[in-house]
């Protein structure tokens, strides 16, 4: 629970941050704003992934599947009727004849994703460790197959394009704030403590009255909800969704962000998502051909990934639990100077 002082600081920080976003939105180029939006979307995805993988210790590889569900549901719902008739003529009439506003489509997208999480989670969450990882990966592949095959609803491999680019900095960062708030509330409640207990020792947790299934399901469904919303935001940013957009690589990518930042921490999720969105873009600048002493070296495409891989190994080598581990951001550093050493030590 936050003290009054902490609430004040948080409020001020939020206002400053939103103001800054507003300023940036009017000054930065579209390219840079897009990066800021992608950072936000990745934060939504990674923080929600941390709820299952980090806090609850349920290692899921299905996150991209929930993204896919959210993205498709929201895409189909929010597509303007005129376009819908053109792009998705085979939709069942009830679906073909509704157009939902963006906010509602985000929420429904998230809810449908959460519903899928409930369906798959109920049987699968009794598995543990890598067995669960494989089962959730299987879910991701099943979703991909369904999207590819149910082409009268999803247009199959062609994907749905021409989505309206609703997604902007306010939608993204508004959702980021909601996501972080919700996850933070959950983590700091009996539900979150139950999840932590399950992560530490599920047998002891069960012997202390914690219902394993309901806690795991809660983490899984809430994670899936935000994954669905994140997927929907992503779809309306890129303006096209297809089955390949949500493959195992995307899941792995999210897992990397989560582990690099620190799985058991919201702060870690934010840091991991931010870094792993920006750094690859920055590394692009290395893929330039250069001329040294008259010898011209062509640009080496793939170099940025190689450097990124090397950097990842180094990060993990020095910080096996991610950059911040389980540490959570707090305002203590503002208190008194003698506390500073304490916070950095926790780092």
């Amino acid at each position: 629970m936050l003290s009054r002082r902490d609430k004040l600081y948080t409020g001020i920080a939020l206002i400053i941050f939103l103001g800054l976003l507003g300023i940036l939105n009017n000054t930065l180029s579209g390219y840079h704003m897009r990066l800021i939006n992608l950072i936000g979307i990745n934060i939504i995805l990674v923080v929600s992934l941390n709820l299952t993988n980090g806090f609850c210790g349920v290692f899921s590889l299905g996150h991209a599947g929930f993204m896919a569900v959210g993205a498709y549901v929201s895409a189909i719902l929010a597509l303007p009727l005129t376009k819908k008739a053109l792009v998705l003529p085979e939709l069942p009439t009830w679906l073909g004849s509704i157009e939902v506003n963006f906010l509602l489509s985000l929420i429904i997208g998230g809810l449908v994703a959460a519903f899928f999480a409930l369906l798959i989670g109920y049987p699968v969450l009794r598995l543990s460790g890598h067995y669960l990882a494989v089962a959730t990966l299987g879910f991701l592949i099943i979703i991909q197959v369904l999207i590819t095959q149910l082409s009268h609803i999803t247009r199959g491999a062609r994907g749905i394009n021409g989505l309206i680019s609703y997604t902007n900095v306010w939608w993204v960062w508004g959702t980021v704030i909601v996501t972080i708030y919700a996850v933070w509330r959950i983590v700091n409640s009996s539900y979150g403590r139950g999840m932590l207990a399950i992560r530490e020792d599920d047998l002891a947790a069960e012997s202390l009255g914690i219902n394993l299934t309901s806690h795991k399901l809660l983490a899984f469904c809430v994670g899936a909800f935000f994954a669905g919303v994140g997927g929907a935001l992503w779809g309306h940013l890129i303006t096209v969704v297809n089955p390949l957009s949500f493959d195992s690589n995307r899941t792995f990518n999210l897992v990397v962000m989560s582990v690099v930042g620190g799985m058991g921490s919201i702060t870690g999720g934010v840091i991991g998502a931010t870094l792993m969105t920006i750094v690859p873009e920055l590394l692009r600048n290395l893929e330039v051909g250069i001329t040294i002493f008259g010898m011209s070296i062509p640009p080496l495409y793939g170099l940025s990934q190689i450097i990124l891989a090397g950097a990842l190994i180094l990060v993990i080598f020095f910080r096996p639990h991610g950059l911040v581990g389980n540490w959570e951001f707090n305002w203590n550093f503002l208190k008194k100077s003698k506390n500073i050493s304490k916070t950095t030590q926790n780092l």
């Binding site: 180029s29 390219y31 096209v240 692009r284 495409y301």
Partner: protein, 374 residues
Amino acid sequence: GEQKDAAKDNEAAAGETIKVGAIFNLTGAQASLDGPSLNGFKLAAKEINAKGGVLGKQIEVISIDGKTDQTSATNAALKLAEEDKVVAMAGFSDSNYALAAGPTAQEAGIPFITTGATLPSLPEQVGDYFFLAPFGDDAQAYAAADYAVEKLGSKTAYILKDTAMDFTMNLAAYFEERFKKYNGEDAILLEDTFKTNDQDYSAQINRLKAMKTKPELLFISSGPSDCGIIVKQVREAGIDIPIISGDGFDTPLLIELGGEGANVDTYFATHTCLTNEKELVKNFVTAYQEEYSREPENGFAALGYDTMYLIADAIERANSEDPTAIRDAIAETQGFEAVTGTISYEPGNRVPKKSVSVLKVEDGKFAFVEEVTP
């Protein structure tokens, strides 16, 4: 990554350069298609610059890796439009990525020519700044169907298609439509599916072999990475009815992997025949060999090459570096002689009317059979 081709001193001499963006998937699953395309594209730019450039300026190709990832593709397009201020963009052999990057270019008002994506509805879906350099899937599928019916005399067909690719699904659909038009609704005896990189097609082949009435033709709708293996496995299973396909078969891999099997009645419709005796084609092949010390890997290399020339031609005709003027010039292109055929855009249609070449494998080489304009 991006690359600034023109040397610094060159730039100083010309005052400035004309920047053209290139987004290709140089890493990831699409790399084998897009890599050669970029090579062709850059080769053309180099040739143009050597001849003095366009409008008296050098062309600077700024190339970014799309990483076979839609997010990267759109980021790249936005970067090219806003940071690098290119006058035109080109790229991609797959419509999934073209569909991701295209709208960004459209919104920025910069013409985008896809070098290799062949979905005919792409320009319509993206907008008036989007063009195809190759013909559409409909053209090649119709050409294949026409050839099969008229020259091979096929009455019934079997279709095997890759469900994971937009391109293969469309190709199969257009072929089916045309083939049924000739031979009636029941002409397609069986339609079976696989997924990119499945590698093992024995189950499908077994089903084909077990069919009561054998089809007279196999239409295999696959991408370049699978075609050779499929042909090999089909032939190894002892099936030797004619196989026909689209430009997905236009890859040396068909011969390399298909082995003996590919020599048996294997046809495909594609953009051009690189063993063609035409001057333009021969020049391209030699220039490519000189620049990269290898044969053009596939037809996409030629398409990349043509696209650069197409853009340069449009800039020249527009006599301006204004993207909109260039767009208008591209739209007015008529009878532009390219390695992959003659390109003309009819008013309002941004898919070029182009001839289709039908090729056949003979003695481990591609042999030109005929050129059709469906």
